[in-house]
Symmetry: none
Subunit: 416 residues, 2 copies
């Protein structure tokens, strides 16, 4: 079943809000085996909306509309679709009763324009709205399915979960199961990764392989369709091990396991705490760790030593280090890591020093970064030359820090 | 000029990522008077993409494509458009040189498939990519304009700001000037703000008024169309003063003046430095300040005192305070602010302590937050009860901190 998702609303075309409904619906529809081939956004304009409905009916089996079901004059999704498919809008008593009780509950008066919301497409199945006024509608027409949903996510999402998806599942002729697995890689370029998998991607059928790159991270989504769930799992596992034979060094986790989540888990499992000294990252590394609930059990604290004065007063970096090596150096990074560990009495210390830019500093280009890590057994440092904006450089420095720490912790587990 | 924004990428249709590019582009295009009438998302499929290109050329003057310019086989925006409009892809030496230096900078190897990115549509104007490999392209064709942009927002946004929008501004045939001004408000609800402006919004013609709420901040975009720039400015200024008569207390800045930018400016103007003690915000406040280049002149540094142990060892919060008042208290917030100021020898200290959630802590609900501020003359604290997720609570705490600091600094200027 091929679907398209059509959002109706001028506020989307003005860039005032994001079309998060399409993202949500895409994931839900894919998960039951519907192929979403198009998203469309169109404004509150009857002619352009009508054109979109027509072209949708030509190319797709399933049309899912969001928005334009409200009481105001510029809510015209129902009215426009009715015209295009030659159906009448008929008054639905049950719906009007529901609307009345909705207002009664809130001790509000029902205004005339709310009656508009009691009009439904003739022959449509009604999807109840448990969180608002506009009911959803489903129309079956010459083998095509048209679904109308309200725009506000807090009304749309439960309606989809509880009524639309169960309805569509029944419609789906196929008993096909869809399963997918996301593999996460770091410290490798997309083109380099794709080249290593060239033949696999070239000959992909089921499972399929979809790469996605963001800020130095790359994910591969493996998706399989098949009648038998167990069989699907085997296919996914086989492909995964094939891929890891080639890219194991860059692989760090699966599905929703972000770098920060894995680090938190590793620290938790090994009962270790982490202290942080941040110069160029200015708090971003600590923010990333403390984004996660439960951080307090593994995160001891941090000093943001943006200036040399604070590096010296709080973390005992000597004048001699500044003069001989500079603040942007392996020696300074190691000193910061070792001293923050001792100062906050933690098991591990990590430090970031370098140049975020836009200007160079102390004769170092933007993107020249040193990361220091002090563990129970050793103090090491890593040198990076990152490109991109100030923000890119800070983001990537943090991800490299997370990645190196995870490697250290896993290595030490092996060593012991 | 009527435009549509076409995003290419199967990951969007699978719901893996949101089409935030369309939102960004819509706002920028609207701001220069382009009418965006459609958003379309299509997958990495040459036939469906070709159909989308054709229907776009039929109904729109301007087609803006995002994504599908990468090095991999399923990046086929350039190739597909070339076929539809009967143009060749030609090799561009300058672009290849840029790609080579990009890899050189990162000390990475350039792979063969990257050469694909040096191919451009014949006769196209090239838009430089200052943050990645794929260059942007502009093609003029029988009165239609086709713009190709890379998918990653950190590459797309600067390319649009610096190259695409200036180019399109020149193209716009209309003699009509479009000017807009953004007014920024804080600490007031959207419905409350809209109610105060009810009549103005109801009778809006030119300038128009578009409210937009995000994380406790509300912006009003005033947009005016007219032949005469001076006249437009007067209209905007008149409306602005009308609005500020009613909402002046909540107004803090204009256009791109974010809270953090204004705070940096105020600190800079008064030659003061700021030290930060962060508990529940875990580094987010410092990150926000150091996002801005030039932070080093006003930001002394910070201690992230997530645990009581660090509050005690680093910031001398006494056991007596923990026992009598608790870590989530006005007294603790004031102590942290005063002591971080003294410790890092800065002019001002600010502190954040509270509960980010999801669970309550020490008998405090998530969202119960105290902010302490220590200036030359006084130490004060603010108590907040914020709603929303852990992330919302952290974000809003930071914005309130910025907002209160700005008010303090401005007040002290007046007092002196």
């Amino acid at each position: 079943m091929n679907a398209e998702i059509i959002a109706v609303g001028s506020e989307l075309l003005l860039g005032q809000i994001q079309n998060s409904n399409a993202t949500y619906l895409s994931e839900d529809l894919s998960s039951i085996g519907v192929n979403v081939y198009h998203h469309v956004v169109v404004g509150d304009n009857p002619h352009r909306l009508a054109d979109v409905v027509r072209s949708g009916l030509e190319r797709s089996d399933l049309l899912v509309f969001t928005g334009g079901l409200g009481p105001t004059k510029d809510d015209l999704t129902k009215e426009t679709i009715a015209k295009v498919i030659n159906k009448d809008l008929v008054y639905d008593e049950a719906t009007e009763k529901r609307i009345q009780s909705f207002f009664a509950k809130r001790r509000q008066v029902m205004t005339d324009n709310n009656r508009k919301q009691a009009m439904v497409l003739e022959g449509a199945k009604i999807l109840p709205n448990d969180h608002g006024l506009a009911c959803g509608l489903v129309v079956e027409l010459d083998g095509k399915t048209i679904v109308l949903l309200p725009g506000p996510p807090n009304e749309m999402i439960p309606m989809v979960k509880n009524y639309a998806i169960p309805y569509l599942k029944k419609q789906l002729s196929t008993a096909e199961q869809i399963q997918s697995k996301v593999l996460r890689f770091f410290d490798i370029g997309e083109s380099q990764l794709v080249e290593k998998l060239d033949d696999l991607i070239e000959n992909q059928t089921s499972p399929t392989i979809a790469p996605l790159a963001s800020e130095g991270e790359i994910t591969l989504r493996l998706t399989v369709k098949g009648q038998d769930q167990k069989e699907n799992d085997v296919l996914l596992e086989n492909l995964k091990s094939k891929i890891l034979e080639r890219l194991g060094n860059y692989y760090y986790g699966e599905d929703d396991q972000t770098l920060s989540l894995i680090l938190q888990q590793e620290l938790h499992d090994t009962k270790q705490t982490l202290a942080v000294a941040e110069s160029l990252t200015g708090g971003l590394f600590s923010t990333t760790l403390t984004d996660l609930a439960g951080a307090s059990t593994v995160f001891a604290g941090a000093v943001i030593c943006y200036s040399n004065a604070v590096k010296e007063s709080e973390l005992s970096v000597s004048q001699e280090i500044f003069e001989r090596h500079g603040a942007v150096s392996s020696v300074c990074a190691k000193t910061l890591a070792a001293n923050i560990k001792q100062k906050l009495n933690s098991d591990i210390g990590i430090s970031f020093t370098g140049v975020a830019g836009p200007d160079s500093h102390d004769g170092h280009e933007p993107g020249h970064v040193f990361i220091g890590i002090a563990t129970k057994n050793r103090v090491v440092s890593y040198e990076l030359q990152l490109a991109g904006s100030r923000d890119n450089i800070r983001q990537r420095s943090v991800k490299y820090g997370l990645y190196y720490l995870i490697q250290c912790l896993r290595k030490e587990k092996v060593d012991e």
